[in-house]
Symmetry: C2
C-alpha cells in the first residue's frame, strides 16, 4: 500500500521515514520550510543579517531558496555568498548554477575566488600539502566565509549541513575516539562573537536529510551540481555514511536520535571554553599556541613554495 | 598471508582485529589475563572480596577462570555465585556446566534459585508481566546478586559484560535518544556504597570481545552453555549488534573507540547524583519515588496474581 499525504490524503510523493509520514509535493514544501523555521526558532534565533554560503550542491541550493521564502517571517536580512574554489569543471559548473539560480531570487549576492585570498587554487594547494583535500578546502572556506561576512557586517553565516553530514561527523568522531570533536560546531546556532571577529553560524538543515534537500530542489525545479567534487573521492566521511544504511533499516529514527543525543549530551558536558586568540597575521580567531591561524600558515607555505601555478 | 603470533612468531591462532595483532594459544592466554588485570588496575582497583556472577555462558565462565588465575596478583578474595533462573533446560544445563567447572577451581561457590527470592520462576513471571523477558530477568538478577553479596559481606560483584554487550547497549541508547542510559553503569568499577547497602561492581571484560571470551574458553577447555536463552529471542539489543558488523568492516577499532568515547564523555558530564533511598520493603536501594524497589513491586504482583505455579 502506498503512503498518503498526511495533510491532504492524496498519494504521497515522499515519505519521511523517521517520522513515518508521507507528503504530496505541495505539503512537503510546507513541511520543509516549517522545519527550517522551527529548527531556528527552537534554538533561540531572533533574526539578523544572514549570509547564506552556497556551494551549488543540493543542500545549500535548497537552503538558499528556503531561507529566501521564510526570511520575512524570521526577520532575516538575507544575502548569498558563493566561493569559487577553482576545482576544474566542478567549480565552473557550480558557479554557473549559482549564477543562474540566484537571479530567480530577490536577494543580493557576492562571488569570490578562493585563490584571491589564498594565493593559489585548491587543487594546487592539495598537491602541496599532505592533508586530505576536504580538510584543506574546509579550513579555507571557513576563513573566507568569516572574513567576508565580518567585513560586510553580517551577524551569521548559514551553511547547508544536513542530518546525514552531521550524524556522520559525530559517528566518525566516536568511532575514532576523537571525542573532543563532539564538542565543536555542528549545532543549529553558534552565536556571533564580535569581540573575536567571529561571525555566528546557522545550520538550519541539521535535522533534515539529504534526501529531503534533494526533493525540495526537485519540486522547486532548482538546479544543483549533481556530480561530486573530484577531490573528495575516497573521503573517509563518505565511508562512514554507509553505516547509516544498516542502522536506518533497523530503526528509521536512529540517525536523528543519535544526533539529538550528541547535542543533548553536549549540553550536559563541562566544556572548557576553547581559548581563542586573534591570529597575529590576519586578526581572525585561532586556537594555535603560536597565535598564527591555519589559514595564514597555509598561505605562508604557498608563498614559500615553488609549485607551478596553473594560472601563470 | 597468515598472521603470526606477535610474541613468539609462531602461526597465530587468533587475531585481535582492533589491535591488528595475532597470538598463538599460549600467548593469547597471557594477553587475555593481562587485559583483565590492566583493565581493573587502570580503573583504580585495589583488591577486595569479589563475588563473580556466573551464568554458565562463555563470558562469565571465562571471567571466573581468569579471575581465579589472577586473584593473587590482584589481591582478590574470590567466590562464585550461580543463580538458577528455572528457565527449562536452559537453566538446568547452565547449572550443570557451572557445577562441573567450578570443581576444577579452588574457589568457594554458592548456587541460589531465583524463585526462592521471587516467589515464582522467571518463565512464570514473564507470562505475568508485560515487559521484555531480558529486562525482568536483569532486574531480578541484579537484586539477588546484590543481596547475596551484601549479606555475605562481599565488596564487589564481578560480571561478564563484554565489549559487544556494552558497546551495543550504548549504541542503542543513542539510537533511541535515551541519553540518560549513557550515564548509568557499564563502567569498569562502580565502587561499593555500604551506606546504601550497595555492593560494588566490577566489569573486567568491558574491553574484551565475545570472540576473545569464546577463544579463552576453548583454549582452556572450559565448558559453557552454547545455546541462547529461549526467552531472549528477538531481543532488541541483539538486532543492534548487527550494526557492528558493518562498522567493524570499515574500522576494526570502531567498537572499542565508541565505548571509550562514551566512558570519556561521561567523565566530562554533569552527573546529577541519582537519588537512591532504601526500599521500604527490602531495605536495598531504589530510585522509585514511592520508595518501593522494582524487585519488591514485582514480588508483590506475583503474590497477588493467580498464575499457576509450575512447581506446585
Amino acid at each position: 500500500m502506498r503512503k498518503k499525504c498526511v495533510v491532504c490524503g492524496r498519494e504521497a510523493s515522499i515519505v519521511i521515514e523517521r517520522a513515518r509520514v508521507g507528503f504530496c509535493k505541495e505539503h512537503f514544501l510546507e513541511y520543509y520550510e516549517r522545519m527550517i523555521k522551527k529548527t531556528l526558532k527552537k534554538s533561540g534565533f531572533n533574526g539578523g543579517k544572514v549570509m547564506v554560503a552556497v556551494s551549488g550542491g543540493k543542500d545549500s541550493m535548497a537552503l538558499m531558496y528556503a531561507l529566501s521564502n521564510v526570511k520575512n517571517e524570521l526577520n532575516i536580512d538575507l544575502m548569498a555568498l558563493h566561493i569559487d574554489l577553482s576545482i576544474d569543471n566542478y567549480s565552473k559548473e557550480s558557479r554557473n548554477i549559482f549564477e543562474k539560480e540566484i537571479k530567480k531570487l530577490n536577494i543580493d549576492y557576492i562571488i569570490v575566488e578562493a585563490r584571491d585570498y589564498l594565493g593559489a587554487s585548491i587543487p594546487e594547494v592539495v598537491k602541496l600539502v599532505r592533508k586530505p583535500a576536504c580538510s584543506i578546502c574546509g579550513l579555507v572556506k571557513r576563513w573566507i566565509m568569516n572574513k567576508i561576512a565580518y567585513d560586510m557586517n553580517y551577524d551569521y553565516i548559514a551553511t547547508g549541513h544536513n542530518l546525514d553530514d552531521v550524524s556522520t561527523y559525530f559517528l566518525k568522531a566516536m568511532f575514532t575516539y576523537r571525542d573532543d570533536d563532539l564538542l565543536r560546531g555542528n549545532e543549529v546556532i553558534s552565536p556571533p562573537r564580535p569581540e573575536l571577529k567571529m561571525v555566528g553560524r546557522l545550520r538550519p538543515q541539521i535535522f533534515i536529510t539529504e534526501k529531503e534537500n534533494l526533493f525540495y530542489c526537485e519540486v522547486n525545479e532548482i538546479s544543483y551540481i549533481d556530480f561530486e567534487c573530484p577531490l573528495s573521492k575516497g573521503a573517509l566521511l563518505k565511508k562512514y555514511k554507509t553505516i547509516w544504511e544498516t542502522a536506518l533499516k533497523l530503526n528509521p529514527m536512529s540517525q536523528y536520535n543519535f544526533t539529538r543525543s550528541i547535542l543533548s549530551i553536549r549540553e550536559k558536558m563541562h566544556r572548557d571554553d576553547i581559548k581563542l586568540k586573534p591570529c597575529k597575521i590576519c586578526g581572525f580567531p585561532t586556537t594555535a599556541s603560536n597565535e598564527i591561524c591555519s589559514f595564514c600558515k597555509l598561505k605562508e607555505k604557498i608563498k614559500n613554495s615553488t609549485i607551478d601555478r596553473e594560472d601563470r
